[in-house]
């Protein structure tokens, strides 16, 4: 799907109207959530927060392709993918509000906590996928990382391990053009990130990360391949980070407004809206109702996050090991 919402009929998968609306609504929620999170941070109600605006199609397209039993390994920028997967927004906000309970997801959500050291989650995802294979489970793991992460050894060891072990793992490279301020051409001399797969004997795919249909299809194909025992895939989602790296960053130091404006024309949500309008799946009335619904939903989640009982300092001790030894008990006793 291009910027005008035109699709290539030969490549377009069959999606039901409901599926298309799900894509749209999921992306819509993420954009509104992002806006809210930044505003909460500016008011001092959240700590540092990494924005997702502009990357909604990459996050939604990949997350919605997952089956319930698959495992997701997010980087710190996948708040959107996590929400699309069903992690409550209140949890995500709780995490960015400095509370470990924000990573205490339900067991049946199979979503790993955010990994802050860039790219370090890649080997974990491979280990889980390899475990699935050893156990004979027809499942897969999916791991997100950015363009910058591909410069790290973790990524290379993970790709190599996954390929050698034929682990059912899908690698999603969120190429949003920036590792904070550093551009892809300063991270790699490869023409694409996807081509890095070749060296590992793995299939590499590059998709327009702002085309939710394309991202979904590529992810679904990679997952099917993984379930059938044919091993891992690397998918490069070519997209753009429209906002700062985090709320502590000022992107105007290293990029022009003109460049951002050019990318704004490629917006993933706008193009799906155009497509839906043509298919009579979108009306102003629908949008108005959606707006009200989403605002209410987000307000409720913020309220839930802010009304949670304060964390117990003893939890820091309780979860260091399965059991506390006498020394830890003694140290904990000083906290009342």
């Amino acid at each position: 799907m291009d910027e005008k919402g035109e699709v290539d009929g030969k490549l377009m998968p069959k999606f039901s109207s409901k599926q298309i609306k799900d894509f749209y609504e999921s992306m819509y929620i993420l954009r509104a959530f992002d806006k809210k999170a930044v505003s909460l941070q500016r008011q001092g109600r959240l700590g540092t927060y990494p924005q997702i605006t502009g990357m909604e199609a990459t996050q939604v397209g990949t997350a919605l392709a997952l089956q319930k039993a698959d495992w997701m390994f997010p980087s710190f920028r996948e708040s959107g993918a996590m929400i699309a997967r069903g992690i409550p927004m209140s949890k995500i906000l709780l995490y960015w509000g400095g509370d470990e309970r924000g990573s205490q997801f339900a067991k049946d959500q199979f979503t790993f906590p955010i990994s802050i050291p860039v790219g370090s989650q890649t080997t974990h995802a491979v280990g889980t996928a390899w475990g699935m294979k050893i156990k004979g489970h027809k499942k897969a793991s999916l791991v997100y990382f950015g363009d910058g992460a591909t410069s790290r050894g973790d990524f290379h060891e993970a790709m190599n391990f996954a390929s050698v072990m034929k682990a059912p793992c899908v690698f999603i490279c969120n190429n949003n053009q920036f590792a904070i301020s550093t551009r892809p051409d300063k991270e790699t001399a490869s023409e694409t990130f996807a081509q890095k797969a070749i060296a590992y004997g793995m299939e590499g795919v590059k998709v327009d990360g702002n085309d939710v249909f394309g991202v979904y299809k590529a992810t679904q194909d990679a997952l099917k391949k993984a379930y059938s025992g044919k091993g891992p895939t690397l998918i490069e989602c070519y997209t753009y980070r429209m906002l700062d790296h985090t709320t502590s960053d000022d992107a105007s130091r290293y990029r022009s407004k003109k460049e951002v404006d050019e990318w704004a024309k490629k917006d993933p949500i706008d193009r799906l809206r155009k497509y839906m309008e043509k298919k009579k799946l979108w009306t102003k009335d629908y949008e108005g109702k959606l707006y009200n619904k989403v605002q209410k939903m987000i307000e409720k989640e913020v309220e839930k996050m802010e009304n949670i009982t304060p964390p117990d300092v003893k939890d820091i001790f309780k979860y260091t090991y399965a059991e506390m030894d006498d020394e830890l008990k003694e140290q904990m006793s000083k906290y009342g």
Binding site: P113, T123, G127, T320
Partner: protein, 322 residues
């Protein structure tokens, strides 16, 4: 019951634990067909197949990182790092993830993995093959650190490490891999983590040590006509402080023998604990016998570097005669 050295005891308990729990998976460099460079996994691939005893790529970040994901998935990876000096690339995964997954998710995910690795000097090895860096791991909350001193100990402690719900760093003192033989029961048994062992009771002085240094401490003591209480620490984290404190309160004197460099070695922590809880029982300052704070030399000077029998005898005498 059979007489075994530590290599055989390790192999024997890995075999037993694999038989006991089908989720135990072994992998590392050259551990399959070759049986490991020290042969601690010899024959296990033949017995349990390539799905459970796996030759991994030569990649320490990958070995430790995948173990985290595999452990979180519910398996029990017991990975081997060929020599402890090669584990450093994997430290980020141990420090930033393995140790923290339980806390980070408030108990929803855990990381019950074991990293086994031969450590310490004394076998005329190459550079990076001889250091004692247990302190790196002890300093990380969330990790457990275990060092066996004999074949019997290795079997029981490794069984406990494998069954433990938290990540365990299991450091095998390779200097005594083959130089101690003792009776090891063929029946399965465990030795609880977090408990010191009183090797022998005594009243003149408490001598505290772990790993390969226990053997050399005992040899030194055999040449001295004193009543020493000897404590094998076994688990350095979590540390069984009580056994040490009770003993020092009784004897009033203590010496710690440590293969690692002096500064910030585990001996420093033991001295601090004695100061906190048994200072007024002391008849003499606590002494530590350690390697100097220098780079581990290549093997021509290795024996000069390592704390030896003479150092131990001299140190104990100094404390007794204070």
């Amino acid at each position: 019951m059979a007489e075994m050295n530590m290599v055989e005891a390790v192999r024997h308990v890995l075999d037993q634990e694999m038989g006991r729990d089908k989720d135990v998976i072994l992998y590392g460099e050259d551990i399959g067909k070759n049986g490991g460079v020290f042969r601690t996994t010899d024959g296990l691939q033949k017995k349990y197949g390539e799905k459970r005893v796996i030759d991994s790529p030569l990649a320490e970040v990958g070995i430790i990182g995948t173990a985290i994901g595999m452990a979180a998935y519910g398996l029990k990876p017991v990975v081997e790092i060929q020599f402890s000096g090669f584990a450093y690339a994997g430290l980020e995964n141990l420090i930033s993830h393995a140790a923290r997954i339980r806390n980070r998710t408030r108990g929803m995910f855990t990381c019950p993995m074991v990293m086994r690795t031969p450590y310490g000097g004394g076998i005329r090895a190459l550079e990076h093959h001889s250091e004692s860096v247990e302190s790196l791991y002890i300093h990380i909350p969330g990790l457990k650190v275990v060092i066996p001193s004999t074949p019997y100990e290795a079997k029981g402690l490794l069984a406990s490490a494998i069954r433990d719900p938290d990540p365990v760093i299991f450091l095998e003192p390779k200097r005594v891999y083959r130089s101690i033989k003792e009776e090891v029961p063929s029946k399965s048994y465990t030795i609880p983590l977090g408990k010191c062992r009183i090797v022998q009771h005594g009243s003149d002085i408490t001598v505290i040590t772990w790993g390969a240094m226990l053997k050399y401490t005992m040899e030194a003591l055999a040449k001295m006509d004193i009543s020493a209480e000897v404590i094998d620490v076994r688990t350095l984290s979590p540390f069984d402080e009580k056994t040490v404190i009770d003993s020092v309160k009784k004897t009033g004197r203590a010496v710690i023998v440590q293969e690692a460099v002096k500064t910030l070695g585990f001996a420093s922590e033991i001295i601090a604990r004695i100061n906190e809880k048994a200072l007024l029982s002391l008849e003499a300052p606590v002494k530590r016998i350690t390697a100097p704070d220098i780079i581990f030399p290549l093997f021509k000077l290795e024996n000069e570097y390592l704390p030896g029998e003479e150092d131990i005898i001299k140190g104990i005498k100094e404390v007794l005669e204070f």
